[in-house]
Amino acid sequence: MELKHLSVASLRNLIASREVTAVEVCRNALGRIEELSELNAFITTTAEPALASAEQLDRAAEKGEPLPKLAGAIIAIKDNMVMRGVRTTAGSRILFNYKPPYTATAIERLQAAGAIIIGKTNCDEFAMGSSTENSAYGPVRNPWDPARVPGGSSGGSAVAVAAGMAMGALGSDTGGSIRQPASLCGVVGLKPTYGRVSRYGLIAFGSSLDQIGPFANSVEDAAAILDVIAGRDVNDSTSSNAEVDDYSAALTGDVRGLRVGVPREYYGEGLDPEVKEKTEAAIKRLEEMGAKIVDVSLPHTEYAVPVYYLIATAEASANLARFDGVRYGFRAEDAGTLKEMYSRTREHGFGAEVKRRIMLGTYALSAGYYDAYYGKAQKVRALIERDFRNAFGSCDVIATPTAPTPAFKLGEKADNPLEMYLSDIYTITANLAGIPGISLPCGLSSNGLPIGVQLIGRQFDEATLLRAARNLEQALGFDSTPAAIRNNG
């Protein structure tokens, strides 16, 4: 039973017809996690409750009861989403022993739909990073080449799906943290519209940018997961009341007449020639299927990285103020006063990148600099959002590379934060504008590394985005199984 070759819908049918048991699928996933433990994709596995839920599903199937939509689907959760009683670290030492008293809404919805939660995946500390090297629990390795990073910050979730340890996973995307690792690991990764999925129970990084979304082996599975997790939640006031489409149903239909915008600003300096070639080839396939390719311009693209690193860090510096050694997690023991306790706890509890971002955000919000930095960034953010609205006047989706290069080597960018930040250059604009984006694999580089193409859609128009992605996926016929796993049988 290779999870890589099984769709969520087909597994449900196999369990219902008693051809497969949920328990054997679950054991298979746990076996794979164990076998590939050197990839370090998981911080915590939840074998016992997972097997218990699987047994329950098998009993229901035995009795011929109707099974829920995601019955038996093995799902991994990025370790920055809380799950009652299950250690949740956000990749940080400061939360090394935190056992949340409640569960994130997105996880609750998955469980209610019959999904089996297999564990919590490794990530950059507080989702701050593009390589999953900034985890207090060690770096994650790419199953296509273990000397390389999986991307980040949701690297563990991307690897879990790529390596067949799970059929799907949840990640969070603040500046590309779902789409960029999906691209580097050869799987599908969707960042929905801001507010489409409840953030209740997601440990906050940049609250005006953060969004939970799925990783999957196919667009079909990503749509099935989105069907379950999307929609209003009274526990997150920024979750939207906008109508939730039937995303699985939206996959049928072709792309004839669909207008695909190609923004020239995304194909310039810094883009790897092979990534450019594969992205352009994917766009060509859409054209062959009847889509209309149009040139569009997003003129403020070059300002997106500076805007992002002011807004995200400013919001992070406020959000991370809660980690002070009082209510949960690590506390420095040697402090004489409360203030010393705060400063030492945070100094020893946070890693270098998190401290760097707290410093930058605190500076951008501090007296005398607020208008020049944070205020200015909010204004340029408005210009970036306006660029997209203008572009969507003449197109229905926008096609770009997901990341400027395929997976890079561990340690390659570790000493140069700015260079690392630039690996999110094509993804952060969708977060700034609050619109959905999806990455899907479109080929391999000459040295066998996956390359992703990104499609960006209108606000709350995941239906069109997924339909376009589904058509492209079928035309490309990419096998997302890393060679090491394929050979394993």
Binding site: N97, Y98, K99, P100, P101, Y194, S208, R232, D233, V234, D236, S237, T238, S239, S240, N241, Y303, P306, V307, Y309, L310, S317, A321, V326, R327, Y328, G329, A335, G336, T337, L338, K339, E340, S343, R346, E347, A352, R356, I358, M359, L360, T362, Y363, S366, Y373, G375, K376, A377, Q378, K379, V380, A382, L383, E385, P417, L418, Y421, A433, G434, Q459
Partner: protein, 100 residues
């Protein structure tokens, strides 16, 4: 705009981070180089642009979730302090606030 070591020390104090001297050195250099990149924003004239503070202000047509203002069960004192490094009788314990 380059920032000085003194700036970094002041920000660290505001952010409640007791940085080592090596960290102060490296952050001074790294934050200066990041801010230099950020200064690119000054190329743009934005006097007439309304700042965008949130995505709900973007499309203008999105209504976000509200709930009725009624009391609901809360976490409760026992669970609220369960993860605390130091707690007693349902309270968080901390080092002394003043003096020292």
């Amino acid at each position: 705009m380059p920032i000085s070591k003194a700036d970094v020390e002041k920000i660290a104090e505001l952010a409640r981070l007791e940085l080592t001297s090596e960290e102060t050195e490296s952050f001074t250099e790294q934050l200066s180089s990041i801010l230099e990149h950020i200064d690119k924003l000054n190329e743009l004239e934005t006097a007439d642009v309304e700042p965008m503070s949130h995505c709900s202000t973007a499309g203008g047509d999105t209504e976000y979730a509200r709930r009725d203002d009624v009391t609901r069960p809360s976490l409760g004192q026992r669970l609220a302090v369960e993860n605390a490094p130091d707690a007693e009788a349902g309270y968080f314990k901390v080092p002394r606030v003043i003096g020292g």
